[in-house]
């Protein structure tokens, strides 16, 4: 059992954040060295950061990052023996840059030539024995990847392949469900055969998901390939209008599905043309206003989780609310509509929107329609000039969803917004007049039943022992705890945008046909996070069996998340602590069935924690597994002597060994 693709993505996102903390330690050392000195503490912190980074990179199979961190550790260990002391800051800087490049490349499944170069240079500096081959940059890289052959394939054929694999993708699930029903009515002999068929159907489901993901990768091209030409287009058009412009493309390397990029060219050209015609002022006017003579139009392409965001902004005159309202009145449109809506009203001519004979809103209704057709959304936001932001989920090409039950019905949530699933005992939550609350980090967080957000009838099922809660989080930091009756499955589906119904705008991310052949809805997390509740009264869920609670103790968030995802996929509930002291607090508050702990941690290390657990009577029987990179036999002996039930090495980490050990101990 491996963590799901979504869980791995989440782990990678955490790693992307966590590695920055480690690099900050190196930067601090670098600053000190630049100022002519360094302290032992700073050096130790930097070494510790490199060690942490090495361990996490190893878990993620980022070989080059791991080896770079290892060589960095060696470099710092021999710091005072190294020649050319004046170059120490340069070495640390080179190491930091290389780590940053190698992590960025590994996260995108690429290699970084600059990081590989530094890896070799570091080898020279620390006089390491040169290896024949560079370490792998990322999981899955092989010699074959490096010498990939190229074939020409029609984009249309690829699209057909993706859609076909999407259709096949749901069939094994339906097959599995049918076999399950059949097994319920079958005798013991047939049951065994049916169980094997079910397993086969499960494997087929997994393979088709992989097939679709692979096919989708084939369609990805760097945004620059198609949007790069907009730069000269902008310059030429500006020149013809007597204006000067700097066109900046940010995120040109972002990989985007080719058909989507092609379809976006028209709307983006429209927005660019609007910005140049109506947004940017003439040079003399800009100078008069104290602005640089040359205007700027910036096109930014970025992926935020499963979302692609394309932003175009200019530093021109922006929109004039008064003129917008005046024109809306003339058209018989409610002038009190927010500007964000008025800008899309058909017929708001350019001349009427902004003073000086320029304006916005020309054809913006059409641009919005096109964007919506492509399964996206567009919004305008004011600022110094104007900013248009187009967002697309990867829905048309396959989106990861979590299906949940609510009000007896099935709904889906995009996993990009699922921060975690929480299985809360009633002792962990508070019950107020309007429902349940969770107190966390001193904050009182309401738990809102999804049925109340959707105004569905709640099912009467007695008082639950535990609540199934989905924690939703948005890129802007907003979040919400949403209670469901059950979480059902994790799927990859092909979505279609749904327009024209009488339901609220923004409720649906899209729709798909479920494995059972029904129309199913994917709810938009942004809507759920901001929607008001529709009915008071606590929601009641059924009482499920309690899975064992496993405490994960590690100072690396990435390691914790990765292990948690693995254990959750095996049916365990997990709780996390960043060091030994935090673990002791958790042990006091929760009924923990087993502890998996790192050894090297700040404040109270794993051995100290183990000692405290064995000393206290009520905890003394809790199994403890040490999962560490300390491989020396004497260290293993010490851990086992202190009462560890198993000692697993991160260097040879194998998820099956961990699962086996847990099953054995529980």
């Amino acid at each position: 059992m491996k963590p799901s693709e979504a869980a791995r993505k989440q782990v990678l996102q955490s790693f992307a954040l966590e590695h920055r903390d480690h690099l900050l330690r190196l930067e601090a050392l670098e600053r000190e060295l630049e100022q002519g000195g360094w302290e032992g503490d700073r050096l130790a912190e930097a070494r510790r950061a490199l060690h942490g980074l090495k361990g996490t990179a190893r878990l993620l199979n980022f070989g080059l990052v791991e080896e770079l961190a290892h060589r960095g550790e060696t470099l710092l260990l021999r710091f005072d023996q190294l020649p050319q002391s004046e170059r120490r800051a340069d070495w640390v800087r080179a190491l930091r840059d290389a780590l940053e490049d190698s992590v960025a490349a590994a996260l995108q499944g690429k290699r970084s030539a600059s990081a590989e170069r530094t890896y070799r240079q570091l080898g020279d500096w620390i006089e390491a024995e040169e290896e024949d081959e560079l370490p792998r940059s990322f999981e899955g890289e092989s010699e074959g990847d490096r010498q990939r052959q190229v074939v020409r394939v029609q984009v249309q054929q690829l699209e057909s392949l993706i859609r076909a694999s999407g259709r096949i993708g749901t069939q094994p699930f339906a097959l599995q469900a049918g076999l399950r029903q059949l097994r319920a009515q079958a005798g013991p002999l047939q049951s065994s055969l049916i169980r094997r068929l079910e397993r086969l159907a499960g494997e087929m489901a997994h393979s088709t998901q992989e097939l679709r993901e692979e096919a989708r990768q084939l369609l990805l091209v760097p945004a620059r390939d198609l949007l790069g030409g907009m730069s000269s287009q902008a310059r030429d058009l500006a020149q013809s209008l007597g204006k000067s412009v700097d066109f900046i493309l940010e995120g040109g390397e972002t990989l985007v599905e080719l058909p989507l990029l092609q379809a976006l060219l028209d709307p983006l050209n429209h927005l660019l043309s609007n910005a140049l015609h109506h947004g940017l002022e003439l040079p003399e006017e800009r100078v008069r206003q104290g602005k640089p003579e040359r205007g700027t139009v910036c096109l930014r392409v970025v992926r935020l989780g499963e979302q692609l965001v394309v932003q175009i902004r200019d530093d021109g005159g922006g929109l004039n609310r008064e003129v917008l309202m005046e024109r809306a009145r003339a058209l018989g449109v409610d002038p009190e509509l927010p500007s964000e809506e008025l800008v899309f009203v058909d017929g708001l001519s350019s001349q009427s929107v902004v003073g000086r004979g320029a304006g916005r809103g020309v054809g913006m209704g059409a641009v919005r329609s096109r964007v919506v057709e492509l399964g996206g959304s567009i919004r305008w936001s004011p600022g110094q000039g104007s900013t248009w932001e187009l967002s697309f989920s990867s829905g048309a090409w396959g989106i990861q969803i979590l299906t949940v039950r609510c009000g007896g019905r099935e709904f889906a949530l995009p996993t990009r917004a699922v921060v975690r699933l929480r299985y809360l005992a009633l002792e962990e939550v508070l019950r107020g007049p309007e429902g349940f609350y969770l107190v966390e980090a001193g904050e009182r967080r309401p738990i809102t039943p999804l049925s109340r957000l959707l105004n569905l009838k709640e099912r009467e099922a007695g008082t639950p022992d535990r609540l199934r809660v989905v924690e939703l989080g948005l890129p802007d930091g907003r979040s919400r705890l949403v209670q469901v009756e059950d979480w059902l499955d994790h799927l990859s589906v092909t979505l279609q945008a749904m327009q024209g119904g009488g339901w609220p705008d923004g409720l649906l991310e899209g729709v798909y046909v479920s494995p059972g052949g029904e129309v199913s809805m994917v709810l938009r997390p942004e809507f759920l996070v901001q929607e008001q509740e529709h009915r008071p009264g606590p929601s009641l869920t059924t009482s499920p069996a309690t899975p064992p609670l496993i405490l994960l103790v590690d100072d690396s968030q990435t390691t914790r998340q990765m292990t948690a995802a693995l254990l959750q996929s095996g049916g365990y509930e997990t709780v996390e602590a960043a060091d030994g002291t935090e673990a002791l607090s958790v042990l006091s508050a929760r009924k923990v069935a087993l502890v998996v702990s790192d050894v090297q941690m700040p404040l109270l290390d794993g051995l100290g924690l183990l000692q405290r657990i064995r000393e206290r009577e009520e905890w003394s029987e809790i199994p403890v597994i040490l999962l560490t990179s300390l491989a020396a036999p004497e260290e293993q002996k010490r851990g086992l002597e202190l009462g560890a039930d198993a000692y697993l090495l991160k260097q040879t980490f194998d998820h099956r060994r961990l699962m086996d050990a847990i099953q054995r101990l529980l």
Partner: protein, 154 residues
């Protein structure tokens, strides 16, 4: 030669009840349906198809909207042509008879279909909107039995 339009027209006719007596001589032009609000005749030419469909209700929708259905490889929002009396059940509804409007990506649910009818344009036009939210459906004229003959505005 395969002609999808012809097949769709034929399917629409087959799904409807037999042609109303007395109308056999002229080709049918309208489909007759009934809702809680009465009987309606809708031009067949405005329909992409008509069939019984399961519909998935969408939360937070007004009562006039039934939900979404999957028809001819596409997802369609479905609303009532006339809201039936009584409260709708939660969950996936029983199949409803749905008219799929050509060019409008909209399904109109009715309680019953009554058959096909051949109508000319000999009656005076009333040209009033059918109901709020259904402005594109206009009452062209009323038959002597109270059936409202509708036309679809482009």
């Amino acid at each position: 030669m395969f002609d999808p339009e012809e097949i769709l027209d034929r399917r629409t006719r087959e799904l409807a009840a037999p042609v109303v007596a007395g109308q056999e001589l002229r080709p049918p032009s309208h489909i007759l349906v009934s809702t809680g609000q009465g009987r309606f005749a809708i031009p067949i030419g405005e329909l992409q198809g008509a069939t019984r469909q399961k519909i998935t209700p969408v939360p937070l929708s007004p009562p006039s909207w039934l939900g979404i259905t999957h028809y001819m490889e596409s997802f369609w929002p479905v609303r009532w042509l006339g809201v039936p009396e009584g409260e709708l059940e939660e969950g996936l509804t029983a199949p409803y008879f749905v008219l799929f409007l050509r060019g409008r990506k909209l399904g109109l649910a009715v309680e019953r279909h009554l058959g096909l009818i051949a109508l000319g344009d000999e009656h005076g036009r009333e040209d009033g909107p059918l109901a709020q939210g259904l402005e594109y459906l206009r009452v062209a004229w009323t038959l002597s039995d109270g059936t409202l003959v509708l036309e679809v505005q482009s």
